[in-house]
């Protein structure tokens, strides 16, 4: 470990092999994406959901195609019919399982076991599909990992994190970064990531601090308002209903918002921690510089504007996030990016050769 660290730092410092800082950039605009999004919504509703597969592809192509690194855009290649087939299969399985789940308690246990076994498989297939369908400089990404690691990252650790009321969340995050970071390839070049727990616990500390501060504020708010209510309005005709409303306004809403902000803060810092240990074969590294304040500001204002516009702000919200994240992501490239190669003779065969294309459980577009 120490040697690797040492080796890396000398490489960075020596003049000839210095890393080039390549920023990610996002060129999409809210108004342009609004047109795509609203047509997606309209046609999806008109076709009772069938168009959602086409919508998904147009959506992904827009976001990938507006993301640039070193003068080249990303691309997305899935065919809508592939996605539609995968979705139909997933829906049929979900319905069958839901019915079996109701039929008999023993079958319900069997369904649970089925999900525990099938979920890691579906997650891997979904990640593989999405990686295969994503390209940069006409070279596809790939994903492969063991079901055990998928199980640990997506079921076991999140479950333990929930049981521990979030205290084990950093372990879940680390497992997830290991799973995603080591599973991906660009062409035949491997990504790798071996994060430490410390930055995730720092993130958890920040999130907890926000939560505790908000709880204190909510308690203070509750105390001051409730003590004032009885003073100001002793003849209140409907104290119970009014108190219930006040409780919602001064305790529930701020606490809910605080929980939301705290999880955004954790997500921002965890993203930094993940990207900062991500490496791509060939000595390339990545950096993420998302700041808790800016990210939470974007998330909260997005939420408020989305509610205020009954959802019509969603396209701008998505573009804002994409732009902010791109602006805060940098690749530290060692040498030119034109030396990556594909190990398959025909890279297009990788995806279409699959019997079953499942895009994962990420429905919606």
């Amino acid at each position: 470990m120490a040697e690797a660290q040492f080796g890396r730092s000398t490489q960075t410092d020596s003049g000839s092999t210095r890393h080039a800082r390549l920023p990610f950039q996002f060129f999409g605009s809210g108004s342009e994406y609004f047109g795509i999004w609203i047509v997606n919504v309209l046609l999806t509703v008109l076709t009772i959901g069938i168009y959602s597969a086409w919508a998904k592809v147009r959506n992904k192509r827009y976001f990938n195609g507006q993301t640039e690194l070193d003068g080249f855009r990303f691309d997305y290649h899935a065919r809508p019919v592939q996605i539609l087939k995968g979705r139909i299969i997933v829906i049929v399985v979900l319905i069958v399982m839901a019915i079996l789940n109701q039929l008999h308690p023993i079958l319900a246990v069997a369904v649970l076991v089925f999900y525990a076994v099938a979920l890691p498989w579906v997650i891997i297939r979904g990640l593989r599909f999405n990686a295969n369908m994503t390209s940069y400089r006409n070279l596809r990404f790939h994903f492969e990992d063991t079901k055990w690691r998928a199980f640990k990252a997506n079921i076991l650790w999140p479950f333990l994190a929930t049981l521990s009321l979030g205290l084990l969340m950093p372990f879940a995050s680390r497992a997830n970064v290991r799973f995603l970071g080591n599973g991906h390839r660009f062409g035949q070049s491997r990504f790798s990531a071996d994060p430490k727990l410390k930055p995730f616990y720092q993130a958890l500390g920040v999130a907890m601090a926000i939560l505790i501060a908000a709880t204190a504020l909510a308690a203070l708010g509750a105390y001051t308002t409730f003590s004032r209510v009885t003073l100001i309005d002793p003849n209140n005709t409907d104290p119970a209903a009014f108190l219930a409303f006040l409780f919602q306004a001064v305790v529930f809403v701020p606490f809910y918002l605080a929980f939301f902000v705290a999880s955004a803060a954790y997500a921002a810092l965890a993203r930094n921690a993940a990207f900062n240990v991500l490496a791509l074969e060939g000595g390339h590294e990545f950096r993420s510089t998302v700041s808790v304040g800016s990210y939470c500001w974007i998330i909260v204002t997005n939420l408020i504007l989305t509610i205020a516009t009954i959802g019509l702000f969603i396209p701008w919200a998505k573009v804002r996030i994409a732009r902010y994240l791109a602006d805060n992501t940098t690749m530290l490239a060692k040498g030119d990016l034109d030396r990556f190669v594909e190990d398959q003779t025909d890279d297009r065969g990788v995806a279409s050769g699959e019997f079953l294309d499942i895009e994962g459980i990420d429905f919606g577009f």
């Binding site: 507006q66 400089r137 919606g364």
Partner: protein
């Protein structure tokens, strides 16, 4: 006249990340073969296999038969090139273009999504409930009953004679409903549920001891009529399907808008579900008084028993809360419900 088409862009090799800043040169717009020029050099002739559809200002991808790709941001040039062929998606793109009519689309989308939530999902739920095989309903009935038994119920402490007194009226109500479901009447100690009655999907109707003690005979019969009406109209199945339909719609449209956004929309879904639940209660009230009248009972008993239930459940402090309909209640407020019931009773023949 020089008809050559020259498009600036990048030529990407197959199987490597090698790329050249280059120009695609076609003899004229109607050919699919051309050459790629870069760095004072030119490629072997290339054959165009496919051109990606236009999406906003995103780069276009021209795939060659040899696996190489030419990408360009010159959308106008590619549009001219593909104009002759006219794919379906050039029309989709023209819909997506930013211009005033997008406001019309936005309005249409809002109206349609709202309409779908308000009318589409309920109708679909009704169809799904109607199409649900009786066996599936029975299984759901049994599993719901198991849950209730373990969470709230304990064996009834009523005399057999008390319970038996309702059976004849119950059977007449079922007969009056004309419904062929397999109706069963059960009595249970309701525990925390207090004076209450529940209708399960396949026709199991549970009445709590507390309700029997609270109301007169004809009042309990009126409640039974209300519950029979729930089963008759497949209300519990419909609620299940509505919740599912709403969740599906939100996921489809909102997609990955983040956990909080989904929570908010989900909250909206709960409100819509509650509104739907209140409508069902009103429908069951109206149908209930009709059934009571058919068997020669006293329809106003439903009004009086509701008042007794509200008194028992709400007490004095929260009485006003019970009177008003709020966004988040499953049943209409007492005031509204009483008025609707009176109107339904007046409308009886």
């Amino acid at each position: 006249m020089d008809e050559r088409v020259i498009i600036e862009g990048n030529w990407l090799a197959r199987g490597t990340s090698l790329a050249h800043s280059a120009r695609l040169v076609l003899a004229h717009a109607n050919v699919t073969a051309g050459i790629v020029e870069f760095d004072d050099a030119a490629s072997e002739p290339v054959e165009i296999e496919a051109v990606s559809d236009r999406i906003g200002t995103v780069d276009r991808r021209i795939e060659m038969t040899d696996g190489s790709v030419f990408v360009t941001s010159d959308n106008a040039a590619i549009d001219r090139l593909t104009a002759a062929r006219g794919s379906l998606f050039s029309r989709v793109f023209s819909l997506e273009t930013v211009r005033p009519r997008l406001f019309v689309f936005a309005f249409a989308a809002v109206v349609m999504v709202a309409g779908l939530l308000r009318y589409g999902v309920p109708v679909l739920a009704q169809v799904a409930a109607w199409a649900t095989p009786i066996e599936v309903a029975q299984v759901m009935d049994a599993s719901a009953r198991n849950t209730l038994e373990s969470l709230f119920f304990s064996p009834s402490k009523l005399e057999e004679q008390t319970k038996g007194a309702f059976q004849a009226d119950f059977e007449r109500l079922v007969e009056a409903s004309g419904d062929e479901a397999n109706y069963t009447l059960l009595f249970r100690d309701g525990g925390r549920l207090g004076p209450n009655a529940l209708a399960l999907p396949a026709g199991t109707i549970v009445v709590t001891d507390q309700l029997v003690r609270l109301g007169t005979h004809e009042e309990v019969v009126a409640v039974l009529a209300h519950e029979v009406a729930h089963v008759m109209h497949d209300h519990s199945l419909q609620q299940l399907y509505r919740a599912f339909g709403f969740a599906a719609l939100v996921t489809l449209i909102a997609g990955d808008i983040g956990a909080a956004g989904e929570e908010i929309l989900g909250g909206g879904g709960v409100l819509v579900a509650m509104a739907a639940s209140r409508e069902m209660e009103e429908e069951a009230d109206a149908e209930g008084v009709r059934l009571v009248q058919t068997i020669g009972g006293n329809p106003t008993a439903l009004v009086t028993v509701l008042d007794k239930i509200y008194d028992a459940v709400c007490g004095d402090v929260a009485r006003d809360v019970c009177e008003e309909t709020s966004w988040w209640s499953t049943h209409p407020g007492a005031k509204e419900r009483r008025e609707a019931l009176r109107a339904a009773i007046d409308a009886l023949p």
